[in-house]
């Protein structure tokens, strides 16, 4: 079997003897998972543990007139039936706003709805019982009288004067609005040889993590402490929020996150039904477990995208892009999600559109409105798939209009590789990107000219294949600019503590978390390299607020770039400390020594002087033999946060090759390529697998996935038979390549890689479909997902 090729390290600072940087070492600890010995929250059971099930509103908007739990409480196994007002005595409500998103407003949200349900699926009553089955049995007997209220579902009319205002106190249904006008947009359009204008639509979809959301909360009145086993990306953030809303000190809350069955941004938010679990545990003084079943997941896991973007591009006949303009509208459900808010996706679309191109004229407007559907919030690649599809869709439509090759228009307009540092019209700062090098590499990888020739030849036989591209940029390694400056207690910095054990192995405690992406492996590789041991001598501890340095966890592609740098610095610091001990044992200057493969050696000659096991033995058990006044420090902690740039942008380009069956409207994906530049590649195989998984999530958005709602706010396809997800047989092989432009903000130089695939895939699949159908005169498809029905309509085969 071929493991993805190793990429040689490009930085001398990382060029330590036996370095693991740039090597595709397998992740430690995977055998647990292949043997079925993982420890997911769904697997957790505790003594006296009870299970909660929720009665959920069948209406999108309704007043709760009366709840009668009498019959439910008499059911076998039932411990409690708790309504919103009862639970509100234990837990306070929250409002999802950030001060740096100016004007963003929302209404207080409670753990269980108090007097009104605002979306279909909102919990209105909790039933706690000995087993989940008994809790569900009793839920069926809870009597709820509702009075239906007018529903707001269509974002286009949400702000009309005639439309019902969901939260009267807010005055209208507007959550957030932002405008930007840079350069001379009107003059640029007026002077353009061609202008293309169209509307892009993005289907509302969701994460469908294979393990649903799960939480076990255990309030121990004897200790006055709450222990929460939580499938989350951000344990410290949740520790803060549980404490804050239960009226506890953070020191009274411990959040434990072991194996998580997929997250992708779904598990980085505050969910009312999870907040209710911690409150129920406090109320009932015993462990309470909640696992969302798949039907609940579809109507409560955050949804994302669901944007309508009117967009316009101006271009000269020589291909020069003159201006971009967008008008974005999105409906985010009845509440802005706490604490990250539901304004970020729209804000990112404004920031990112046009981002890869050197075009000074840009106008953008976005409105985020409330509606009576499930809440929307940040999901893998937040805003990027939309901004990228709008930008790249416009660029290829403009190229077609002036008769230019889609790669040539990019070559003409992509920011030059030697132009950095520079910025975008929207104000983003770019440290070092490689659009042109990436494009050149992609063209070689895909054997572009041969593919075009094949496409042309097949067209003569009535076979319609398309090639589509998408250049992209991706936000990674966020500083406090993302959330901290807006007042949210979401840590941008992260830490790593490394200690030498008594046999000379090391243990790393890190604030970043493992969601399957390989964070533990990356930390182990970095620590092993920085300190000087084989990776088998490294153990990594994550996901425990009692035992890891304070940190942000895993989101916005930050674990490797930020957590990795902290581990690098901690490894170096511990090496210095250990060399100080070795120096005093050996009567040598520490700076003449190094650690290589668990041995203290002469730095110059590599000659072995003393083993780490011996250093540890002396330091821990015979410190009396060390010089008077010398104290060995065999544990080191370092923290890191990016400071020079608010974000570390990555870039890349994807291509899709596909075939459209013009009789059935089905799309067959033949091959997909992605070249991306995430700076220093710590583990090529892990980066490639992040890209591949991300690409397939993006393909899901382009072709299959959509939460379908009717006009009354009822989700119509909330199950895995009706909501289509990508499966193995429809997915193509995906070839990955790399260009390496390290960030100078850290020694490691690593940027994030977790979201690039999802950012670019929908755009290039869209462009490939339109490329395939262009000779048939089909109207360009810009309304995702591109179902067979939409394709047949574009071809005029059905009306």
């Amino acid at each position: 079997m071929k493991i993805t090729d190793d990429v040689p390290s490009t930085l001398t600072a990382l060029d330590r003897p036996n370095s693991y940087i740039g090597r595709s070492v397998p992740r430690p600890n995977l055998a647990r998972l292949t043997q079925g010995r993982g420890h997911y929250v769904t697997d957790v059971t505790l003594p006296r543990m009870a299970h909660v099930a929720y009665v959920r509103s069948p209406h999108a908007h309704a007043r709760i007139v009366r709840i009668d739990t009498t019959a439910a409480k008499k059911m076998p196994g039932v411990i409690a039936a708790v309504t919103g007002p009862e639970l509100a005595k234990v837990i306070t409500p929250w409002v999802g706003v950030l001060t740096h998103l100016k004007g963003l407003k929302s209404a207080p949200q409670s753990a269980i709805a108090i007097d009104r349900a605002c979306w279909q699926g909102e919990a209105v009553c909790a039933v706690v019982a000995r087993t989940r089955a008994e809790a569900e049995d009793a839920c069926a007997l809870v009597q709820v009288d509702y009075e239906e209220l007018p529903t707001v579902t269509d974002p286009e009319t949400a702000l009309d004067a005639a439309t019902h205002v969901i939260h009267a106190d807010l005055g209208d249904n507007l959550c957030f609005e932002r405008s930007l006008d840079v350069g001379t947009v009107d003059a640029a359009f007026a002077g353009s040889d061609a202008v293309v204008e169209t509307t892009f639509v993005f289907g509302r979809h969701t994460g469908v993590t294979n393990e649903p959301r799960a939480i076990v909360a255990d309030w121990n009145p004897g200790e006055q402490r709450l222990t929460v086993y939580h499938g989350t990306q951000a344990p410290h953030m949740m520790q803060n929020l549980f404490a804050k809303h239960l009226g506890l000190e953070e020191s009274q809350v411990r959040v434990l996150t072991k194996d998580v069955g997929g997250s992708f941004g779904i598990k980085v938010h505050t969910y009312a039904d999870e907040m209710a679990v911690v409150a129920l545990s406090k109320l009932l003084k015993r462990p309470v477990k909640f696992v969302a079943d798949r039907i609940e997941s579809f109507v409560t896991d955050i949804h994302a995208r669901d944007h309508r973007v009117k967009a316009k591009i101006g271009v000269m006949n020589d291909g020069t892009i003159t201006a971009f303009e967008i008008d974005d509208l999105t409906g985010i459900g009845p509440y802005s999600v706490y604490p990250r808010t539901s304004g970020i996706e729209a804000n990112q679309i404004v920031n990112l559109t046009g981002g890869p191109y050197a075009c000074p004229n840009y106008r953008a407007h976005t409105r985020v409105v409330f509606q009576n559907k499930n809440v929307m919030c940040q999901y893998r690649a937040v805003g990027h798939p939309i901004a990228c599809a709008v930008t790249e869709g416009l660029v290829e439509l403009a190229a077609a209009k002036i008769g230019m090759d889609p790669l040539d228009i990019r070559r003409k307009n992509l920011i030059a590789d030697n132009a950095y540092p520079t910025g975008s019209a929207s104000g983003l700062k770019f440290e070092a990107l490689s659009h042109h090098a990436s494009l050149d590499k992609l063209v070689k990888m895909m054997d572009h000219d041969a593919l075009r020739a094949e496409q042309t030849a097949l067209r003569h036989k009535g076979i319609y294949r398309g090639i589509g591209f998408a250049s992209f940029i991706e936000v990674t390694n966020p500083s406090a600019a993302f959330y901290g400056v807006g007042g949210a207690k979401i840590s941008a910095q992260d830490g790593c503590t490394i200690k030498l054990d008594a046999q000379g192995a090391i243990v790393c405690h890190t604030g970043v978390t493992e969601q399957g992406q390989g964070a533990e492996a990356v930390i182990a590789q970095v620590a092993a390299s920085a300190f000087g041991v084989a990776i088998e001598r490294v153990r990594v501890i994550t996901g425990d607020t009692d035992n890891t340095p304070y940190g942000g966890g895993t989101w916005a592609s930050r674990a490797a770039g930020i957590g990795g740098e902290a581990a690098w610095q901690a490894g170096k610091a511990l090496r210095q400390n250990v060399l100080a001990v070795a120096g005093s044992i050996l009567q040598a200057k520490p700076e003449t020594l190094d650690i290589r493969d668990s041995q203290v050696v002469d730095a110059g000659t590599g000659k072995e002087r003393i083993g780490l096991d011996e250093v540890a033995r002396i330091a821990y058990f015979r410190p009396d033999t060390l010089p008077p006044g010398f104290q060995a420090e065999l544990m080191a902690t370092r923290h890191y946060v990016p400071r020079a740039f608010p974000f570390s942008f990555t870039n890349g380009i994807q291509a899709s090759y596909l075939e459209v069956d013009t009789d059935s409207g089905f799309v067959k994906l033949l091959k997909h390529w992605c070249v991306e530049d995430c700076g220093t590649v710590i583990n090529p195989q892990l980066v490639d697998e992040q890209v591949r998984g991300g690409v397939v999530q993006g393909i899901g958005a382009a072709l299959y996935e959509q939460c379908v709602y009717d006009e009354r706010g009822q989700m119509l396809n909330g199950n895995m038979a009706d909501y289509l997800v990508p499966m193995a047989s429809e997915m193509p092989d995906i070839q990955c390549g790399h260009v390496v432009s390290p960030t100078a903000d850290s020694e490691l130089g690593a940027k994030g890689a977790g979201e690039a695939g999802t950012a670019g895939a929908p755009a290039c699949v869209m462009n490939a479909i339109n490329d395939a159908l262009r000779p048939l005169g089909a109207a360009p498809l810009t309304d995702m997902p591109f179902t067979p029905g939409k394709i047949l309509r574009a071809l005029g085969r059905v009306s």
């Binding site: 079997m1 071929k2 493991i3 397998p26 992740r27 995977l30 055998a31 998972l33 292949t34 043997q35 079925g36 010995r37 993982g38 997911y40 769904t42 697997d43 076998p76 089955a133 049995d137 069926a140 994460g207 469908v208 993590t209 294979n210 393990e211 649903p212 194996d259 998580v260 069955g261 997929g262 997250s263 992708f264 079943d293 798949r294 969601q515 399957g516 992406q517 390989g518 195989q685 892990l686 697998e689 591949r692 998984g693 991300g694 690409v695 397939v696 999530q697 199950n719 895995m720 038979a721 997800v725 990508p726 499966m727 193995a728 047989s729 429809e730 997915m731 092989d733 995906i734 695939g757």
Partner: protein, 162 residues
Amino acid sequence: MSSLQCDITLTVNGETIRETVEARKTLVDFLRDDLGLTGSHVGCEHGFCGACTVRLNGVIVRGCLTLAVQCDGAKVETIEGLSDTGECADLQTAFETRNALQCGFCTPGMLLTAQELLASDRVPSREAIREHLSGNYCRCTGYHAIVDAVEAVAKARAGSGT
């Protein structure tokens, strides 16, 4: 809702088990909740995701669509059993080396399904592998690495003549 209880006797990973179960209890809930065999996962409870895949009398089934009472007298095998016997150790190693799992939630089901394919079709094409695995949902990997791992093991097994 029902409280009908049934006595069942079955073999699970070679051990004889006698239990009383509710008639409505699914096989995967029985394995996980009553026997503590948490290697089989529950992703959808409606037969779509394949995370609950186990072997019943030698054939893979959905543990969420099978009732525990249907397994009276049956032979059930789970990922824990296959791991202990080493039956698919090469496949497990290939998954680990090729990073054919990220979160690992789909992996036990994937492994049982792949093992069945390899037992019946010695060196399947990549398309045949994709087709056979297409009842097992993986949100993390994009499937490419899984196909690589299964393909590599198929070739290795054919090459070594086992």
